[in-house]
Structure formats: C-alpha cells, structure tokens
C-alpha cells in the first residue's frame, strides 16, 4: 500500500482521540479556554452526561470575526505569543481543542469581541465548517457542543453511563473551580441541581482565606474545620494550600487535589510526596484529603508531556518533592494533637434517635435494667424458649450500679478544666477516659492514646541513637537491574541510617552486609528488590522506614496501657497532660482518633435544647 498524506479531517479525528477522550475532557478544554480569555464568570450546562449537550458561557474577551474563523483550524491559537514552549503561562497552548471537538461533534460558537459591532457565530459539524455569520450576544463567548462523538461511533460505544460521565464532568469543574477562587462557576444540567460557586473576589487568588473559602464551598465545611494551612517556599518555588488532618482521612485518593501553576494534575511525583509526608500518620490504605497549589517559574516546568496535560515534569524534581514533604509535615506538626472534629459530629449523628431506628429497639425495656429486679422477683428470662436460649443465671439484689466513687474526691479544678483535654472525671468500661473541658467533654481511648505516646518516645529515641545493625555472616548477594543498583548505591548513606548497609557487587548485583536488627531475621533479598522497585517509582526509601516504624509501633502497642486496665484519677490526668504536649497524639498508629471531643453545643443539640 503506498504511503499517502492523511486528510485533515482524519488528522483532526485522530487528534481528537487524544484530546477529547470523554465529555469531561471537552468541558475541561472549553472552561480552560474561558479562563485563558480572562472570564470572571463561567456557566457550564450539560445534558445526557455531556453527550447530548455541553454549553459553556463566559464573560471573557471574546474573539473578532477573523479570529473566530481561524480558531476552528488545527494548530491555531491566540496563546503562546512568543512561540516559546519553554514558558507557558496559559492553560492551553496546543491549538487542538476546538478543531478536535469540531471533528467529532456539532460545534457552535457565538462570540463578541469589544472591538466588533456585534457578535459573530460559526458552526462546525463533524469537521465541516459553516460560514461566519452575525449573531446576537452582549459579551464573552458561548460554545455549544451537541451530539458528541456522533461522527466517531466507536468512541461513543466506549462511553460509560450518563451518570458516570456527568460525575466526571463534575470532578473536572470542581478542580478548575478550586484553582480559580476569583472566578464564579455555575454547573447546571438536567441530571443535577445547579451548583454555583460565587467568586471570592480578585484578591482571592493571592490570599489564602479566599482559597480556603472556595475549598470549603467545594469539599464541604468539614474540610474547612479539619484542615491546616500549608505554606512553604524556596528558590522561586511556592507551595500553599490546605492539608486535612490525618484523622480526616479517606479510603481512596480521590480527594487529593494537586495543582501546578493553576493546572490540576495527577502527577506521580506529587502524589508520592504527599504519601511520604503522611506516611507516619496514616496506614497504607487510608488517604489524606489535601489541596495543594504549587507555583513556580514556568521555565522550571514542562507541561507539554501529554495532550490532556495532567502530567508535568519538573526541572528540579527533588526540590519540589522535599519542599512538599517538609511543608506538609511542618503544617501537620504544628497542629498535631488535634483530632478531626468530625468525630464529635459522627457521635452526635450516631446517638441522635431518629424515627426509623426507635421502634426497632424493642429489646430495650427499662424494667429489665440491671439496677432492678429484687431477690424475691428473680430476674430470669422466663419467656425464653427452653433449649434455644442460654440458661439464665439468676442474681441477687446487690444494689444499684455505681461507678468508682473516688473520682469525685479529685476536684476538677479550673486550671485543669482550662487545659485543652480538660480534667479527667471518670473511666468507663475500663477503656475510655471521660474528661471535662471548659466547653464540653472529651472521651479518650486510653490504649490508643498511650500507644501513640510510647511510639513517639520510641521514635525520638531511634532518631537519637540510630538504628542498631546486625552484621550478616554471609553477605546476601541480590541480583538487580543495573539501574536499580545505581539507585540503591546512590542512597546508601540514607539506607545505612535506617540500618541497611549495602554496596554494589559488580554491575548487576548488590551485597547486603548489615540489616536493621529490629527487623530480626529478614529476607534481605526480597526486601531489597521491593525497595529498589519502590525507589524506581517514587525515588524514596519509604518502605524501609515504614517497616521499621511498623515494628516500633508493635513494640509500642505492647508497652502501653491496655484497654481493661483500671486507671487512677492521677494516672488519667497524667495521660491527658502528656497527650497535650506530645506531637501527633491526636491519632493512634493506625490513623484512628485517640480522642473525641463533644462540645457543649453538640450535647445540647443532642437533647434538642438548641
């Protein structure tokens, strides 16, 4: 078959395959165009999961008649003014979106430029352009995309259910809205109630409060209460944003919003850095909620990696990584004994009686309260069916239940009550400490809390004394890729600090000479291979640190006060005071909260007093 130049229509359709993957990518491209045009308001309307209709209306600069005609041509763009791919300051630059969309759908654009007497309209139907015609529009641009992918039935078949597609659109708009708190967004459509995120003013872009307000609008007010501010910068690289408390974690990574120069990305380096920063707070299967905005000189960044631009490359990846990890840890450390406030509200909703659950609790009967039932009227399950129920043990009347009376002997003095975790008032079920604060009560899980304290102490000791190393009688030779050997030996010093001593053994192997004695008898070969794989992907030695900390956590668990141990009032108060001064005491080693605070207002709400 002879070689031939492809038709422009075919070329556009091929390009569309990369740029326009699904309705959500159309929305992303068009909203980015609107933002690049300087819009302060963007309205998005979709129908049929974006398949039937996507309409984006903005109040941006608009286009002149000639620009409009050119805009639907391939590789035509108003961006990239100096043809400098090294310094891209706009969201788009490739000049591919409109012709790609036009080649697979019915595209209609109406736009009004300030220099034109009236608006102009153009249509593209499966790659066939219509003439530019006069139209009516007072300002900005309105782009309508109908019957997406009707020209490429194969792609149409691969779309998911309308609901899924519309969910993807929502996610795209949320991410865009997070990056631009100064722009008002409206997302409407047949399948959803309209959502409007009002503009937080032009100052919102620079001020963190505007950022937080928009993040709260989008992620819910819980996030606003359970996030700490992150800020850091070095050498023209700036990081700001909000990090969720470890106890406010999620079961998947969907709630991680990462932005580079205002562009939402799903970049491995950034995701890895966030994971590294939270490694000590969260178990492997929990993910933090974060919204991080990285700003750097456009010349330090390559966004031209992928047409959808969700991946980026940094010139100095190590700096970005270390700055993110440091800023996050600094932010988390600052507020580290805080536990998520959602603990309290979750308790409230669990406690609150509702009409659905009340009738089902028929087993509950005040007459069988353990405080009742005298000797003569022996409390037995007389109605229980013989042979089915367990035989009931009868009991004497030994009086009403009464808690340990000694706590009352300890005065809840005002200076204790004013402490963040308050004055211990009781221990219940020999597991939970109930303490009173100025404006509420705190329930502490004694084992989880003490475990974290012991763990933090152990970690501090490890840092000071270093990890003890066991020298191997026969060095373990592990065969690896040459590249892996290089990566491991490059960071041999860091590994040695964690107790793993290895050196290159020819080009394709390393010799492990010493292992951390804490890990006992370990399969060094398998472990080093895992480590090398992880380092290839994330360029960090996290598995080693994680494994050591896991052992430390287990040791801490054994060395701490168990559930079921009766604590004296003095001991409880000592525990509370130590929690207040120990970093990270708000969550246990498994990321669960160590205490729950109920504000007086919560309790009042519970009883319908407010």
């Amino acid at each position: 078959m002879p070689v031939r130049q492809l038709e422009p229509g075919i070329i556009n359709r091929i390009a569309a395959g990369e740029v326009v993957e699904r309705p959500a990518s159309v929305v992303k491209e068009l909203v980015e165009n609107a933002l690049d045009a300087g819009a302060t308001r963007v309205d998005i309307l979709t129908d049929g999961g974006g398949r039937r209709l996507i309409r984006i209306t903005d109040d941006g600069a608009g286009m002149t008649r000639d620009d409009l005609a050119l805009s639907v041509e391939r590789h035509a763009t108003s961006k990239l003014p100096d043809d400098d791919l090294m310094a891209i300051s706009t969201l788009g630059f490739r000049g591919e979106a409109l012709p790609s969309i036009g080649s697979v759908a019915r595209l209609a654009i109406v736009t009004r430029h300030a220099g034109e007497p009236h608006a102009w309209a153009i249509g593209v139907d499966a790659g066939v352009k219509s003439d530019v015609k006069p139209a009516a529009l007072s300002e900005g641009t309105r782009v309508e995309v109908r019957d997406l992918f009707y020209a490429t039935p194969a792609r149409l078949k691969f779309l998911k259910a309308d609901r899924t597609e519309s969910e993807a659109i929502r996610d795209v708009v949320r991410r865009l809205a997070m990056s631009r708190p100064d722009v008002a967004f409206t997302l409407a459509g047949e399948e959803r109630a309209p959502v409007t995120w009002a503009s937080h003013g032009a100052a919102a872009l620079s001020g963190v409060s505007g950022r937080l307000a928009r993040l709260g609008d989008i992620l819910g007010s819980d996030f606003r209460e359970n996030a700490v501010e992150v800020a850091g910068g070095r050498d023209g690289l700036h990081i700001e944003g909000y990090a969720g408390l470890p106890t406010f974690s999620r079961a998947n990574s969907l709630s991680q919003y990462l932005f580079v120069n205002g562009r939402s990305v799903r970049d491995k380096l950034l995701v890895g850095a966030v994971r590294g920063a939270y490694a000590d707070y969260l178990p492997r299967d929990r993910y933090p909620v974060v919204a991080l905005f990285v700003t750097l000189d456009a010349r330090e960044l390559d966004v031209n990696v992928h047409p959808a631009k969700t991946e980026v490359r940094f010139r100095d990846a190590g700096l970005v990584r270390s700055l993110i990890v440091r800023s996050l840890q600094e932010a988390l450390g600052r507020d580290s004994s805080r536990a998520a406030t959602t603990g309290g509200s979750a308790t409230i909703s669990a406690l609150r009686p509702n009409s659905a659950s009340m009738p089902s609790r028929r087993n509950w009967d005040w007459r069988v309260s353990p405080a009742r039932g005298g000797l003569s009227s022996v409390a037995m399950g007389a109605t229980a069916l013989a042979g089915l129920a367990e035989a009931a043990q009868a009991a004497f009347d030994v009086g009403a239940p009464s808690a340990d009376a000694r706590l009352n002997s300890i005065e809840a003095t005002p200076d204790l009550i004013d402490k963040p975790l308050g004055a211990a008032r009781a221990q219940v079920h020999e597991t939970y400490i109930v303490s009173q604060t100025r404006d509420g009560i705190v329930v502490v899980d004694q084992h989880a809390a003490h475990e974290r304290l012991v763990y933090e102490r152990m970690k501090a000791a490890l840092e000071k004394t270093g990890v003890a190393r066991q020298i191997l009688l026969i060095p373990e030779i592990v065969e690896l890729d040459e590249a892996d050997v290089g990566r491991l030996t490059e960071r041999a010093d860091e590994l040695a600090r964690y107790g793993l001593v290895l050196e290159a053994f020819g080009p394709g192997a390393v010799a492990v000479r010493e292992t951390p004695s804490m890990l006992g008898e370990m399969d060094a070969g398998a472990f080093v291979r895992d480590l090398a794989e992880h380092m290839a992907e994330w360029s960090e030695a996290l598995p080693l640190e994680r494994r050591l900390m896991h052992v430390a956590a287990t040791m801490a668990c054994h060395g701490s006060v168990r559930a079921g141990r009766r604590l004296k009032p003095e001991e409880m108060n000592a525990l509370l005071r130590e929690m207040e001064v120990t970093p990270n005491s708000g969550q246990c080693n498994h990321g669960r909260p160590t205490y729950v605070e109920l504000k007086l207002s919560d309790i009042e709400r519970l009883f319908g007093r407010k």
């Binding site: 042979g387 239940p401 003095e570």
Partner: protein, 372 residues
Amino acid sequence: MKVTVERADLLKSLSHVHRVVERRNTIPILANVLIRAEKSRLSFKATDLDLEVVETIAAEIGQPGVTTVPAHMFYEIVRKLPEGTQVIVESSGDRAVLTIRAGRSRFTLQTLPESDFPDLAAGDMPHKFTLPSADLKRLINKTQFAISTEETRYYLNGIYLHTSGSGKNLKLRAVATDGHRLAQVDFDAPAGADGMPGIIVPRKTVVEVQRLIEDTDGEVTVELSPAKIRFTVGEVVLTSKLIDGTFPDYGRVIPVGNDKTLEVEKAEFEKAVDRVSTVSSERGRAVKLSLSNGKLTLSVTNPDSGSATEELEVTYEADPIDIGFNSRYLLDIAAQIEGETAVLRLADPGSPTLIEEKVAKGALYVLMPMRV
C-alpha cells in the same frame, strides 16, 4: 548513699515489693521503687497509688540516703546476680544514677528524685488487732472467689470485713458476693476488733496479702481506719486504700426458710459435677440437679455436643425437685467446704440455695440457681 547487703535478703524483699508496681504506667515515678538507707536498715517502698508495700531489711549502711529506681529492672538485676554475693548499692548526690555492684558485675540505673514519689499518707489508724496468719489465709480463701469483677458495682470488688454479734459472741465476719453467689465466713473477733467500721478491702490488696502470708505462720497485725487498712507481716508493711462505698445489706440475701435438705458426700459430689460438666459448652455451664428420695441425678445437656448424667446416693427426704446451677460456681464452693459432708438447703428452682458444712465451721455460701 552507700549500702552493702546480702543478695538473698535483697532479692526476697524486692520480690515482695516489685509485684505492686504496674508494668505499664502513665506516670513514670510509679514504675520505680523507693530505696531508703538509714540506721543499718534498708527499706524499699513501692506503690500503685492505691496500695503501698514497704519492706525493711538489715544492711550495712556506709552512708545513708534515699533514691528511686525502676522496680522491675532492679529486681531482674538482683535475681540474675550470682547466689551468695554481697551487693553494693551506691548513689552520689550530683548524678541521677544508682550503681549496683556485685562480684565483677556493675550496673547503673537512672534514678528519679524521691520527692516525686507519692505517699499514701496513711494517717491515724484507730483500730488494731492481730490474727494468726492461718486464720487470715482461711478468711481470704473462703471468700475471695466470690468477689465481683464487674466495674459498674464497684463496692462489690472486694471483701467486706466487719463485726457481727456482740459481747462474747462478737464475730469478725468477711463477706464477698458478685450477685450470683455469696460467701460468708465468721471468726471469733480478736481483741481490738470491737467497734471497727465495716470496710471493703479491694481485690488487688487481698491478692497481695494472700501472697505475703503464703509461707509464714506467725501473727499478722491489722490496723485500720474508715479509709485505709494496714497489714504488718514480719518486716513487710502493706497499706491500702479501701473501697469507698456501701456494701449491700447481704443479710436479706441469705435464705432462712429453705426446707428441702440435701446431704451429700463432698468429694464425691465435686468429682461428679466436674465429670458431667465436661460436655457443657463454654457459654452455658449449667448442670441440672434432679432430686428424689435418696437419689441425686446430675445432668448436663449441650445442644452442640451431647449430654451426660450421673447418679449419686444422697440423704434427701423432701419432695422431688429439679434445679440448675452453674457448674463452675458449684465447684468453687465445693472446693472451700471443710469436712466430709456438704449440706444444701433448697426452696424452689428459682430461689437461692444455702450451702453449709455439716459440722459447722463458721462458713456459709449462697448460690442462685440457673434456669435449665
């Protein structure tokens, strides 16, 4: 401080004292033992804030002084030192460490200031009497098993010690109950017990006292006030807080009109209950007692595994009756019955049963039945 002491003496008293110290603590000083050297005496003190043990031994005091070191570690060190050695314990004022030397071994332990060590502040103990340790052992053995572990009824988590009767019939009485069974034992009140308040001795204290008197047969001095109690056994002084609560009016629980009397050989009964309860499940340990003229049939039915029955010749003349009991409770009580024959006084399958020794020794037990 500088002290020279025999390892054996040191080990014996540390083994008494270190048991009081909890292994895991939220207050660091509670992990330590207080060491005080003065006037050729060396004393050790350990506490968990409710209970305090002080033991004094003879030692050669080079220089008096006082300090605290981790109790369990100190005990382990002394335990592992070679037998028959002299141990030199030394601390200097300016460094917060204690040096322990024996033979060629040398240890230094970090100390905490003794001023932080809590004091139980025993206060005035207006009542004082002495008991033969054999009596105290018996008192504890016969009641300890019935102490409740349920924290919601805190006042049942100990032995209720008080006097009953008056004049020549004045008795020292110990009672414990967990709501399912009750144990009561009486002794002739020792001199000095008259007028003492009713007190509840906590379980941990009971266990520690039991250990202290395990291998002594001398006298035990008991001193008490409404809030504290002190036992002195030889050189060991154990002081404990009491449970602050009111013991229920247990007298109402002890049945008086039970007219069905069963007399059974204690040893035979105990073995038979143990045998049939082999088939019972972990959850339900009920054993059924079916009584008819001169015959007792024990039976256990476990829907998951099978059943067992055993017949015993007994003295019983009242109307036939079927009644169920928790086999573990029956065994606990049977283990404490002295003499060959146990007497069970029953009323009906839903009412408490009274268990006594045929030759009365001052102890009685009340047991609630199970519905079988």
